[in-house]
């Protein structure tokens, strides 16, 4: 725990005249769950995609620390090296499962793909590992040969998680992982994510507009607006004692049940 796992420095991303992210800096420490909250258009998803290497930033740095102490600067990686890292050390959970899954191959093949990318070769081992992971995300392993399109939305999202975690990544990026799901399905997914994070000691950057989700999953929060960080702190600090006018407005707008 002597160095951050991920260091983002002065990251800026523009789309034409619009600045989606402006001078964003933060560190992520091993085992930490960092929430990035803000309304639509605040730049939080663009930030996540730049940090995860799905888009390239215009300015700034993203440094990742490997176990052996080496520090990798994302922008210096070749395309294949970046893709290898995204499939081994990292994972990305999309809000829409169809962006993270291959809908035209079976659930088992979806999980197996990452294992093959990690040099697994024996078919029987891959299949039994896929079964194990279906169970870990509470999907009946009898559904292993079915196409993801036959799954419900909540199951698809859990399958996407299994597909991503099967290669034991250290760092997981999540973009609104519970967005668009029924609340009962959402509760189950939150519980699942929390257990997996603890079990595998994952470090997570999670983007959400739902402050209740952020509260339950993350230990630290960043509040974004118009591409900038407005406020940051421990999750309970930001939600119970927000300092900026914007954070106070966000927190006071949460609906009570």
């Amino acid at each position: 725990m002597t160095a951050p796992l991920l260091s983002v420095g002065n990251l800026t991303k523009r789309f034409g005249a619009t600045t989606a992210c402006s001078g964003i800096s933060f560190d992520l420490w091993p085992g930490e769950v960092l929430g990035i909250v803000g309304e639509s258009g605040s730049g939080k998803t663009t930030l996540l995609q730049c940090v995860a290497g799905l888009q390239s930033a215009d300015e700034g740095s993203v440094a990742y620390h490997l176990d052996d102490g080496h520090r990798i600067e994302l922008s210096t990686l070749s395309e294949p090296a970046l893709r290898r890292m995204q499939r081994t050390e990292w994972a990305f959970i999309h809000q829409h499962p169809h962006l993270g899954l291959r809908m035209n191959v079976s659930a088992g093949a979806n999980i197996g793909e990452r294992l093959m990318a990690n040099q697994w070769q024996h078919y029987g081992n891959i299949r039994s590992e896929a079964e194990k992971w279906l169970q870990a995300v509470e999907i009946d392993s009898s559904r292993i040969d079915d196409l993801p399109s036959t799954y419900s939305g909540g199951m698809q999202q859990r399958l996407q998680i299994a597909r991503n975690l099967v290669s034991k990544p250290k760092l997981v990026f999540m973009d609104e992982p519970t967005g668009g799901l029924d609340v009962s399905v959402q509760a189950r997914l939150l519980d699942l994510i929390r257990n997996l994070v603890r079990k595998f000691g994952l470090s997570v950057v999670i983007v959400t507009h739902d402050l209740a989700v952020a509260r339950l999953l993350s230990s630290r929060l960043i509040v974004m607006r118009n591409g900038e960080i407005i406020e940051e702190g421990l999750t309970d600090q930001v939600l119970e004692d927000p300092q900026s006018a914007y954070s106070q407005l966000l927190v006071s707008s949460i609906l009570q049940v």
Binding site: E32, A187, R194, L216, Q237, D241, A245
Partner: protein
């Protein structure tokens, strides 16, 4: 007696941007020391800043002035200048907090919620769950409820789950925000006994106990926040 917590000239203001910039000047330079195995009761009428002080001690409220120093690993750590990671570590190693509200993920069983802090401190799942069951049993939560989410429980049951959770991992200081508020006399008695036992096992306690009899039973040192302006000049 060694102090484990030293509060010096603590100030907390709330600036409410969306309510015409209103300012609430809640803590005005209060100083206080808490020793090992000491029970301190914060007193005074509602709105005087008792809960705010507890939340400042836990690091949830960011303060405007003064220091909050904890004796951790043979040195003083000032919470008001600590990084987020240092605060999380301080909480994990040293501070328990029993709030008035239970905040948990829906559908997670009560036993898991109570056992969680001990598991996070590295205790085996089996031992943590066993102690969780013992604590819940002591607090008269029927075993049939262990596997259910506490979100469907009554207010008094939720409060006892909250207390059990806080007691599941050993700390050096436990903060209690009205732990006996919605309890019947029998459970109230039990909770007070558990707090007294907590002190005997080496914990210090800072709490809000509305009932003067509770404070008396616990032998608490009373700090009256309604005279905090005098306290701060002492």
């Amino acid at each position: 007696m060694h102090s484990i917590l030293k509060i010096t000239k603590l100030q907390k203001k709330f600036l409410l941007h969306n309510q015409n910039g209103a300012v609430l000047d809640v803590l005005r330079g209060i100083s206080l020391e808490v020793g090992e195995r000491e029970i301190v009761a914060l007193c005074g009428p509602s709105g005087i800043g008792k809960s705010s002080l507890l939340k400042a001690l836990y690091g949830t409220y960011r303060v405007n002035g003064g220091t909050i120093e904890y004796w951790l690993d043979d040195q003083w750590l000032d919470l008001t200048r600590a990084t987020a990671r240092e605060i999380l570590n301080l909480r994990k190693m040293m501070i328990g907090y029993v709030s008035q509200f239970l905040r948990v993920i829906p559908r997670v069983p009560t036993l898991d919620i109570v056992a969680e802090p001990a598991i996070e401190l590295g205790e085996s799942e089996e031992a943590a769950r066993q102690r969780a069951a013992d604590l819940l049993d002591k607090l008269r939560i029927p075993e049939e409820l262990f596997s259910l989410s506490p979100l469907t429980f009554s207010g008094g049951e939720q409060q006892r789950v909250n207390i059990a959770r806080a007691l599941s991992a050993p700390r050096k200081l436990t903060l209690f925000d009205e732990p006996t508020a919605s309890l019947d006399p029998v459970n109230r008695r039990t909770v007070l006994e558990m707090i007294a036992h907590l002190r005997e096992s080496g914990n210090a306690i800072v709490g809000i106990f509305h009932d003067a009899r509770d404070r008396e039973i616990l032998g608490a040192r009373e700090i009256d926040l309604s005279i905090q302006d005098e306290l701060s000049h002492a």
